[in-house]
């Protein structure tokens, strides 16, 4: 079974040379730590920076330079700053090759819910709706089940949607799955996880091929 770092490491394998990547808050943020050495990628933050670098050294933080999670950051050589309209032009115009974000629920046709729980305080969707509606390549990083042990991979989402039929790939603590043809397709097992465990933790329609390899991390 993977921990959050394991999920981030597995998603980092999806990075390709030349990708512009938008990482959501939480597990997705960790992906930046595991970029393979032999490729160049640039991280976009929707509040207006391309070429995000690591966090600043203590004492060198700049209040004018933050990421979408409002954390202080640095900029790499070759970075660019821009306004929010230009930032979402990049996203909506599909210039960002990969979007990684968390989710509360994903359905078997690729719907995603990650912004609102009825009856609880709603903080807003931020840039998530633009990201999921626009990206050609979205990977969801999440736990396979919620804190109550219920599957987050469903026939239909029960929560208000963030986007429709947009998720193509999911990496959870248990497995890598793809979504097409109205079903989850099991691609890889997390280390030490059996196919049965994944089947039991998946409420939506799940296609299991004869051979399910274990992830190589």
């Amino acid at each position: 079974m993977l921990d959050k770092i394991g999920i981030a490491k597995r998603i980092a394998q999806e990075l390709q040379n030349g990708y512009y990547v938008n990482l959501g808050i939480g597990i997705p943020t960790l992906v930046a730590n595991y970029v393979p050495d032999n490729i160049e990628v640039e991280f976009q933050s929707e509040n207006g920076v391309l070429g995000m670098g690591p966090f600043p050294f203590d004492g060198e933080e700049n209040a004018d330079l933050i990421n979408a999670g409002k954390q202080t950051i640095t900029a790499m050589p070759g970075a660019a700053f821009f306004d929010s309209a230009t930032s979402f032009a990049m996203i909506r115009g599909q210039h960002v090759q990969l979007t990684v974000l968390g989710a509360m629920e994903v359905s078997q046709n690729g719907d995603i819910a990650n912004w609102k729980i009825p009856g609880r305080m709603v903080k807003g969707m931020g840039g998530a709706m633009d990201l999921v509606a626009s990206a050609e390549n979205i990977i969801v990083a999440m736990m396979h089940t919620n804190k109550a042990g219920e599957s987050k991979l469903l026939t239909d989402c029960s929560l208000p949607l963030t986007g429709v039929a947009c998720v193509k790939k999911i990496v959870t603590n248990l497995a890598t799955l793809e979504i097409h043809g109205g079903a989850f397709h099991l691609v890889e097992r997390a280390p030490g996880v059996s196919v049965d465990e994944i089947v039991n933790a998946t409420a939506g329609k799940l296609i299991v091929p004869p051979l399910v390899p274990e992830m190589q991390l």
Partner: protein
């Protein structure tokens, strides 16, 4: 000759802002917010404001200060976390909240400033954001029609500015400020440094002065950091 937009101070800059008006306020979180003007709005005590701003500040800073004084009737934002008083007023029904996808918010402000009354975007299709909005399929993909936003006053904060109203922003403090500057019937710009005319390179202006009606040099900027995140020195 350049048209002179300089006003003496924040008091003069905010003249005419009245209760019930719609205001746009630049900034992302606490980054790039018009601190001086927000403080002046608290002083003025104007109420029943509709505020278009990506976020709502924190309890004791940014738009949180206006929420404390119950000056805001409605917020139009993409994300409003980090604010307990906001949550209290929203749950009690005192505060009306319209949540908009961040990219649609930015583009709707730009559209308002650019004379584009409506445009199609895929963001929000099939969600409650799309409810009641026209849907049209382009290239096989459903989009919803979103409309322009404008405001009685737009209030923005820049790094540098000149008497012609030209503005230059610093790093990610730019965010929503340029589009909101475009969309205000009257746009107030507060700047950290008001430089002599001709000092800004005309190639390097982020917001041309035509979008700014009043400009002044602000003071005592706190520039608070919401999430100080650092790594140890090696």
């Amino acid at each position: 000759m350049a048209i002179n937009k300089v006003v003496a101070d924040v008091q003069e800059a905010c003249q005419g802002i009245q209760s019930g008006m719609t205001l746009m306020l630049g900034g992302f979180g606490l980054c790039g917010i018009p601190e001086n003007s927000i403080a002046r709005l608290v002083e003025l005590g104007v109420t029943d404001l509709t505020c278009i701003s990506n976020n709502a500040g924190v309890d004791d800073f940014g738009l949180g200060l206006l929420l404390q004084g119950k000056q805001i009737k409605k917020m139009i934002s993409s994300y409003v976390g980090e604010n307990d008083e906001f949550e209290r007023q929203m749950l009690s029904g005192e505060l009306d909240v319209d949540l908009i996808p961040q990219g649609s918010l930015a583009e709707r402000c730009r559209a308002g400033g650019a004379g584009i009354p409506a445009f199609f975007t895929p963001a929000g299709y099939g969600t409650e954001v799309g409810e009641g909005k026209e849907v049209r399929v382009f290239n096989g993909k459903p989009h919803i029609l979103e409309s322009a936003l404008t405001a009685d006053f737009a209030i923005v904060k820049a790094w540098k500015g000149d008497a012609a109203g030209n503005l230059v922003f610093q790093a990610t403090a730019r965010n929503f400020n340029p589009m909101m500057a475009m969309a205000g019937k009257i746009t107030i710009a507060e700047v950290e440094e008001l430089v002599p005319l001709g000092e800004l390179d005309p190639n390097q202006i982020h917001t041309p002065g035509i979008f700014v009606q009043r400009i002044f040099q602000g003071k005592d900027y706190q520039k608070r950091i919401e999430q100080k995140t650092v790594r140890p020195k090696a």
